[in-house]
Amino acid sequence: MSLTAEPTLFEKTSPGRRGVIPPQENTGLNWRDEVAAELVSEKPPELPELSELEVMRHFVRLSQLNYGIDTTMYPLGSCTMKYNPRINEVTARLPGFARLHPMQSEDTAQGALEMMYHLQNHLAEITGMDGITLQPAAGAQGELTALLMVAAYYRKRGEDQRKVVVVPDSSHGTNPASAALAGFDVVTVPSNANGDVDLEALKPHLNEKLACLMLTNPSTLGLFENGIQTIAKGVHEAGGLLYYDGANMNALLGNARPGDMGFDLVHLNLHKTFSTPHGGGGPGAGPVGARGELVKYLPAPVVDRVDGKFRFFKPENSIGRIRTFWGNFLVLVRAYTYIRYHGPQGLKEVGEGAVLAANYLLSRLKGHYEVAYDRTCMHEFVLTARTSKKEKNVKAMDIAKRLLDYGYYAPTVYFPLIVEEALMIEPTETESLETLNRFADTMLKIAEEDPDLVRSAPHSTPVSRLDEVRAARKPVLRWEEGLS
């Protein structure tokens, strides 16, 4: 693998060099003749000039500076970095999907609508919900969508005073951010010594101001929320709603459904549980499910079948449109492919495999690393490097960076915020026993290594630790002449 730095496109430009030439057409006229000169630019855009081969090599070399699931185990907790099956990439590239224009008539897009209709139903069954919207582009947009539904629901019922959204202190940052964006007051409740929501601390908030409690289950600690039924009862008795952050749904596939636990709204991350690639940051999809009366508030449009034809329609009390067009459609195609390939039994085995792998890895690391909550975990678990930090001055970040030297991606670090020096590990079901063993052996080795070596890691990556303070203090966010 070439580890040398790759110059930017802008340093490789050569005036007059061409890459790909687009189709040309002689119409015998020039549109500029009909448009006022002050609207037109005579200067060509400032873009680099390279040959096709130069562009190809540039990006292939850049790619080689990355770790991905296909190159190594990626134990990034909360992100469910499982294998991304290539059949998904094939189906998402079928011309009948990839070339379909979003504004075409429903009659000319029946195959697309049919797929969406079935995917809605499958996700409703998997989560135990009554209705699904496929529109949100990611988990965070799903959260915001659901919270706008919550707001609309209470407005309609004349309960505008319900302004409070409660989140546990272990929640993901998007939960409080989405709640605040949707106009709610955010209240954070602590977790107890067991890692569950502290019921005593929650109680005072179960009142006429409560709009919604947002829970991740399994929680971001990788633990099944023991008090879930008590919590659901309490929230509902107070007239509130229960929201399920489905980032961790992978653990429960086929074994439990948020709907059966008392959740009223859910979002799923198709780019986690349903294997669509993360793409170095996106795109994903964050479908939202709703139960009972809330189905009427889903954003427009949803797909239904009327007289044998598939149609878009707007639910009765819909919050309206939350993005353009019909969702991250090609991501939906991938998730649908994944579900059809697995069927009910295959999905159940996915969940079980994920939980088995996590517990196995935990059993291998226990005794060598401090476990934040020593319980049977679900699909992931959290270690803490607090003692290591105190005794050896080796922090969670140091261990994470040292793993990079051994060719692994790092666990999620410093999240959830309630665990000091957190290392959150999620192996996923697609890692073999041999890989899990190699990873565990490496972790054990790092635990014994010279602290200096670990603290200064990584040593064998294309670059060493970056000066993030400088990046923020003097931001260079684009290439300019004179940079080097």
Binding site: T8, R18, V20, L29, N30, E38, L39, S41, P44, P45, L47, E49, L50, V55, M56, F59, L65, Y67, T71, L94, G96, L100, H101, S105, Q110, E125, A137, A140, L148, S178, L181, F224, A256, R257, D260, H278, G279, G282, P299, I322, R323, T324, W326, L330, Y341, P344, Q345, K348, L356, T376, M378, K401, A410, L433, P458, S464, E468, A472, P475, V476
Partner: protein, 451 residues
């Protein structure tokens, strides 16, 4: 089937290490009432071969003409070179996560930096983020930025902004206690109403939804006189290669969807929204930003930066809740722009605009068809049809042509008008075929009832 590699023997070893007999014991923390005791009611599993056939069958029910589609209306089909898809299928790009560990994510990070740079160059802005969900969401983000920067509450939006983006603004605006004021078009061009010191920003699109090139300089100047922030939404970003850039005519925040420059139509997503702005608004921009810095040995490197704006640091005080964005789509755009270069992108824009102007000439000479607007336009043309435009679309469909966009759904004042879009992917012969179909289509329709 599944992708779980654990053999029965593996499972035994793993369970033994954990100290359990059965995998099901690992789920004992789920209370009985919440545990699913039946199989999920889903269709039975298919083999990879069968699933491919099933999806092919679904895809074949959609109509996807290669050259004979004249729909634009916010999603544009341009030629995409083969290298783009080859690169975005590289495992190391496609199967990586958000670059939280920069030491092993320099490929993703540098490509984001290159995306930011090229989008800044195209728009004339100083900063561009690493992508947001789509162009509509980008416009919403820009409006929120302006509300928070200005401390004012009114948002004046042109009727020429994409109708779905206007719908989005209506969905989201209450959360920020903003007030939307819609500025109607006059002969297809935006005219601002009285702007006062309550106005946080104005927002217009150019080329606008009806294809018209707005007088950006005048619209931005009026906005700034009122102390408000001019937000510009870019219609089709390839137009930036040949039209004055928003940064040149006074825009301070520029948003849009980069789909037309590198991404297939994909039935509406995933695309790549972007928010770009002038330096003074930089610390209010939502989404990820990649910055250039050095590593501990002084070598050049890239990392995510100014993260104090984001949800994972600021939680309920964050400017935006975005986490997963449209990274791989932004990479496709980056590769596309590198391949096309300045000359290529200009040729794409010129070919598109020339075909549209060629069509305009032809259609104007057809019996019964009328050009609706008398304004400069880019690659979309609004045409009034003789009789029902909806019926005409059906007739064209029967001939394998995906006709224009029926604007009366969103602009009731333009009854029986179709918005036709042209790009280099159509070619002149396809335009001739469309003109021919239009000429012959309306005859049998004459006297037909209007819908």
């Amino acid at each position: 089937m599944n992708y779980v590699p654990h053999t029965a023997g593996d499972r035994q070893k793993m369970l033994a290490s954990i100290g359990k007999q059965e995998v099901s014991e690992l789920f004992d923390s789920i209370p009985p009432g919440a545990r699913l005791t039946r199989a999920l009611n889903l269709p039975e599993q298919l083999s990879e071969y069968e699933v491919a056939l099933h999806l092919e069958e679904l895809a074949s029910k959609n109509m996807v003409p290669s050259r004979l589609s004249f729909l634009g209306a916010g999603a544009y089909r341009h030629f995409v070179p083969a290298v783009v898809d080859t690169i975005i299928q590289r495992s190391e790009f496609m199967t990586a996560y958000t670059p939280y560990q920069p030491e092993v994510s320099q490929g993703t990070l540098q490509s984001i930096f290159e995306f930011q740079t090229m989008m800044c160059n195209l728009t004339g802005m100083d900063v561009c983020n690493a992508s947001v969900y789509d162009g509509g969401c980008a416009a919403v983000d820009a409006v929120f930025m302006a509300l928070s920067i200005s401390g004012r509450h009114k948002v004046v939006v042109s009727e020429g902004l994409h109708p779905q983006t206007r719908e989005l603004l209506r969905t989201y605006i209450d959360t920020h206690a903003g007030e939307l004021i819609e500025a109607p078009l006059q002969d297809g061009r935006t005219v601002w109403p009285e702007l006062n010191d309550e106005v946080a920003c104005t927002l217009f699109q150019t080329p606008n939804f009806l294809g018209v090139i707005e007088d950006g300089a005048a619209l931005c100047a009026r906005t700034k006189e009122a102390g408000a922030i001019p937000v510009v939404s870019v219609g089709d970003p390839c137009s930036l290669a040949v039209l004055k850039r928003p940064g040149d005519f006074g825009g301070e925040i520029v948003v849009g969807d980069a789909q037309p420059i590198g991404l297939p139509l994909s039935y509406g997503g995933p695309y790549a929204g972007f928010v770009a702005c002038k330096k003074q608004h930089m610390r209010r921009i939502p989404g990820r930003l990649c910055g250039m810095t050095v590593d501990s040995q002084g070598r050049r490197g890239f990392c995510l930066t100014l993260q104090a704006r984001e949800q994972h640091i600021r939680r309920d005080k964050a400017f935006s809740n975005i986490c997963t964005n449209q990274g791989l789509c932004a990479l496709a755009v980056t590769v596309y722009l590198a391949l096309l270069g300045p000359q290529g992108l200009k040729e794409v824009a010129d070919a598109s605009a020339n075909l549209a102007h060629y069509f305009k000439k032809q259609v104007a000479s057809l019996d019964g068809y009328k050009l609706v607007l008398n304004q400069p336009f880019f690659h979309e043309v609004l045409v009034e049809c003789p009789g029902s435009a909806e019926a005409l679309l059906k007739t064209l469909e029967g001939r394998g042509i995906v006709g224009g966009y029926l604007v009366e759904k969103d602009y009731p004042q333009y009854k029986n008008c179709l918005l036709f879009c042209f790009t280099e992917a159509n070619g002149k012969a396809a335009v001739d075929e469309l003109v021919n179909a239009l000429q012959h289509a309306h005859r049998p329709l004459e006297g037909a009832t209007r819908s």
